[in-house]
């Protein structure tokens, strides 16, 4: 078997590749379950289907998917501009800290001021964390992959410091957490009787807004050009610096927004452990969604399912929660591998050296 260049991008395979990757991931995950001593069929069912069909399954999916979609759409924009922000987890955390800090500082503000203030603070927090990366890259040419990743750990330790130190709830029995936020600073539930909160509605809207920015606006065009052909961007006179800032601030702001929704919604307070790695999983979301903000909606739902499946595998099959990470890793692996089909076609090996004069 060998790969032969197609000479152009296959439109068919740019859509079929993620579907094939998902299919291979299901097979691969089944094989791993089998190796762990589980019957592969039922185990895959428990992991991927059961969470959806049980009571409250779809609501749980929406809640898990919201931060993934928000962050994934932002990262898609960022990556289209070839700005490799992999520190969305940190921006998520700083957004949560800013929002949580505001909510704790002014618990008695009127609701019309408190909640929007919290929301804006979340965006500012994420954008501020991203701004450090943007400044380092545009002014000092520091590689954003390293700086954004390292700042993630800074953000996490900052959070741990705050919830175990100055912001610790005095009535919290020593747990590393703040007081619960006041009602006015809590994200409202939009579907009565479920966990579906405002963030679940904002996430797809944010993804559509990012799509519009990328495909309709002059600014989005510049981001795409700088990502696709930096010399052409320079030739056209687009400022690379400015575009680095735009990409980082948008993706950081969205990550911060996701962090804000998470702590003011499902969690309701700041704790030392506010994210099961949403910021990192969103990298897979962005790529699985073809770096297309709308694709991030679908990819976000699938990856959210892997979190639910991980819980189910732990409870029903007695498997470690690491199954989620394995599923996500296997998915990213197959996704990148299947992408070769977009530019190459598979040819089964032919005997080398045809008989001469075959065409005559």
């Amino acid at each position: 078997m060998r790969f032969e260049p197609r000479g152009k991008v296959s439109i068919l395979w740019s859509y079929a590749s993620p579907i094939l990757a998902i299919a291979l991931t299901i097979l691969g995950t089944g094989a791993i379950f089998w190796a762990l001593g589980q019957a592969p069929g039922p185990a895959v069912y428990t992991f991927l289907v059961a969470p959806l069909v049980q009571v409250g399954g779809l609501s749980a999916l929406a809640v898990k998917a919201a931060p993934l979609i928000m962050i994934g759409a932002g990262l898609a924009l960022c990556y289209r501009a070839s700005v490799w922000n992999i520190g969305a987890e940190g921006q998520f955390t700083v957004g949560a800290i800013f929002a949580g800090g505001f909510a704790l500082a002014f618990p008695d503000l009127p609701g019309w001021l408190l909640y929007p203030g919290t929301l804006v603070m979340g965006v500012i927090g994420g954008a501020a964390a991203a701004a450090i990366v943007a400044a380092l890259k545009s002014e000092l040419n520091v590689n954003e992959i390293l700086s954004s990743l390292m700042l993630t750990y800074v953000a996490q330790y900052l959070l741990i410091y705050l919830v175990t130190g100055p912001w610790k709830d005095p009535k919290g029995f020593g747990f590393p957490q703040t007081a619960m936020f006041s009602d006015g600073a809590t994200t409202p539930i939009v579907v009565e009787g479920t966990a579906v909160h405002l963030g679940c509605v904002v996430a797809p809207i944010a993804a559509i807004a990012v799509w519009a920015l990328l495909s309709k606006a002059a600014l989005g065009f510049q981001l795409r050009v700088v990502g696709e052909a930096p010399r052409a961007a320079r030739f056209a006179g687009f400022s690379e610096r400015r575009l680095i800032w735009v990409a980082m601030l948008v993706s950081g702001g969205l990550a911060g927004l996701a962090g804000m929704f998470e702590v003011t919604g499902p969690i309701g307070q700041l704790t030392a452990d506010i994210s099961p790695g949403y910021g990192f999983t969103a990298i897979i979301v962005a790529f699985l969604g073809r770096l297309h903000p709308i694709g991030a909606i679908f990819a976000g739902l699938l990856l959210a399912l892997s979190y639910l499946g991980g819980d189910a595998a732990q409870i029903d099959l007695g498997l470690p929660n690491a199954v989620t990470g394995i599923f996500q890793g296997v998915l990213l692996f197959f996704l990148l591998a299947c992408d070769i089909l977009i530019l190459y076609r598979v040819r089964l090996a032919k005997p080398r050296g045809k008989p001469v004069g075959a065409a005559a």
């Binding site: 152009k8 696709e228 056209a236 004069g357 005559a360």
Partner: protein, 522 residues
């Protein structure tokens, strides 16, 4: 290995029915070719005719889908370039594969298949370079060498293997006219000693001067075999492009006396951002309305640096270094210069002048968004952008499926027509074009020349940076030469000769003397 008793008189190399299919393109369609002993054989064709594919097949880089290669009477299947070299076939590629930071000897040693060949390598290099008139100092580092010298390394590397057939792919595109003449002497000498030469080019005069026989290819097929010296360049060109060429006519415009220059460059010095680039040194020139200034020179003497400085991709150290219609723009970026009427077409199409993965209408928007008023409230005005792209396609006869086609799906000539069209249709006051017809077929080139001349007639100032002297003599009013980052004072084209310009290109003199003076000295 294999029997060498065959054929003393038959062809050294013959190809029968060579066919090679690429996705979407039949690069070679049942090509027959034969090269006799002692023969210098031309393989002639436009860009994209399939010449390079054919020689890569001969040299074992690619395998044909069908057809036979007969080498000295034996049918062979070339396994690899190393196999071809063992059989006595050498090739000098258009793009050299040399390590800049290594010496001449080290580079040649690295290319040898057999470590035993490294014995006495230095002596053998000196001997061969002396014997064939290829002066080369074995211990110099490659990055200090001119392109002509680098090419000599590649030739010597081939000759060390005592080839019986030497393939040269577009060898003169990087040489001065004087270097070309020296190369031809070497090649004639090699041929007289029994080494056949397959010479690939699209330069007709060279082929007429050098080659005994020619095989002409078009769209993957052989369309003619002839003796080039018996045909005129015009006849050869018509065979090559299958169309009658209208003689290029151009009325020499009478320049408005005393008109203020549209572009004035004053003492522009710039360090090249590339490690082996040429720094611009005190460049001074001006271009009047309606004038076309040609900048001749061998690649790598500061052309791309000059282009970047004029377009604003690289800023000058002071605003007064570049004036556009009197406005000092040396420190202003590309968008400010475009707003003042400066338009630009860089040498590299994909990735610089255009984004290959984007559609033609997106590429139209790329540089025309401001002058074409294609942005409304921060959004791309899709309708106007598509209309603009369609208008370029129509007026410049761009062969494509439409404004939604990806730029990289277009052939070089078509994309170049689109990019020139994109700038011309913005009615610039100044247009700077780097290598306007590089890799472009003759038909497209003629269309581009027409558009450029028309623009000048309407009062724009044009700067054409080109390695092709014929082009400069055809299109330009004045010519200056860029060599090692310095620009000679421009002189009128009608007072210059190709020989003088060639001498300056090679760095022989710091300035061009006018034709009249040169004749007195002769």
């Amino acid at each position: 290995m294999f029997n060498q008793t065959t054929v003393a008189d038959g062809p050294y190399l013959s190809l029968r029915g060579i066919t090679k299919q690429f996705p979407g393109c039949l690069a070679n369609n049942r090509v027959d070719l034969s090269v006799a002993r002692n023969e210098i054989h031309a393989l002639l064709g436009e860009n994209g005719a399939g010449k390079s594919t054919l020689v890569k097949i001969i040299y074992g880089v690619m395998r044909p889908d069908a057809g036979e290669i007969v080498w000295r009477g034996q049918s062979v299947t070339m396994q690899s370039p190393a196999h071809a070299r063992r059989l006595g076939i050498g090739m000098v590629f258009q793009h050299f594969s040399l390590f800049e930071s290594l010496s001449v000897v080290e580079n040649i040693a690295l290319g040898l298949n057999d470590p035993r060949d490294r014995a006495n390598l230095r002596e053998r290099i000196v001997e061969i370079s002396r014997k064939y008139g290829l002066p080369l100092s074995p211990d110099r580092t490659v990055h200090d060498l001119s392109v002509g010298e680098r090419q000599r390394i590649e030739i010597v590397r081939c000759l060390l293997q005592s080839p019986r057939l030497l393939i040269m792919d577009e060898p003169t595109s990087v040489l001065t006219p004087q270097e070309v003449e020296k190369l031809f002497e070497t090649l004639r000498r090699l041929a007289s000693e029994g080494c056949s030469i397959l010479y690939i080019s699209h330069k007709l005069e060279e082929i007429r001067a050098l080659c005994e026989t020619a095989t002409i290819m078009r769209l993957g097929r052989v369309v003619a075999n002839c003796a080039p010296s018996e045909r005129s360049a015009k006849e050869l060109a018509e065979l090559m492009i299958n169309a009658e060429l209208a003689p290029p006519s151009r009325s020499r415009r009478i320049l408005a006396e005393g008109a203020a220059p549209r572009l004035a460059v004053d003492n522009l010095s710039l360090k090249s951002p590339h490690p082996f680039g040429a720094d611009l040194k005190q460049i001074t020139f001006s271009v009047s309305p309606g004038e076309i200034l040609g900048v001749a020179g061998i690649a790598g003497n500061g052309q791309s640096e000059l282009m970047d400085a004029l377009s604003g991709e690289v800023l000058a150290d002071k605003p007064e270094a570049i004036r556009l219609d009197g406005v000092a723009v040396g420190r202003s970026g590309p968008q400010a210069r475009r707003a003042l009427g400066g338009c630009f077409v860089p040498e590299e199409r994909n990735g610089h002048g255009a984004v290959g993965a984007m559609t033609l209408s997106e590429n139209a928007y790329l540089t025309a968004s401001a002058r074409g008023a294609l942005t409304r409230f921060g959004l791309i005005d899709q309708a106007r952008t598509v209309d603009f792209a369609k208008e370029i396609i129509r007026r410049f006869d761009v062969r494509t499926t439409g404004p939604k086609a990806q730029a990289r799906a277009l052939s070089g000539g078509n994309l170049q027509k689109f990019l020139v069209g994109r700038e011309v249709m913005q009615s610039p006051g100044l247009l700077v074009v780097n290598q306007p017809t590089w890799g472009v077929d003759a038909g497209a080139a003629a269309a581009i020349y027409r558009a450029l001349a028309e623009l000048a007639e309407n009062g724009a100032a044009l700067v054409i940076i080109s390695q092709d002297l014929d082009e400069i003599f055809l299109v330009c009013d004045r010519v200056a030469v860029i060599a090692a980052g310095r620009l000679s004072p421009p002189i009128p084209v009608k007072e210059a000769t190709i020989e003088q310009i060639g001498l300056v290109m090679g760095g022989a003199a710091a300035r061009i003397v006018s034709g009249a003076v040169a004749k007195e000295h002769a």
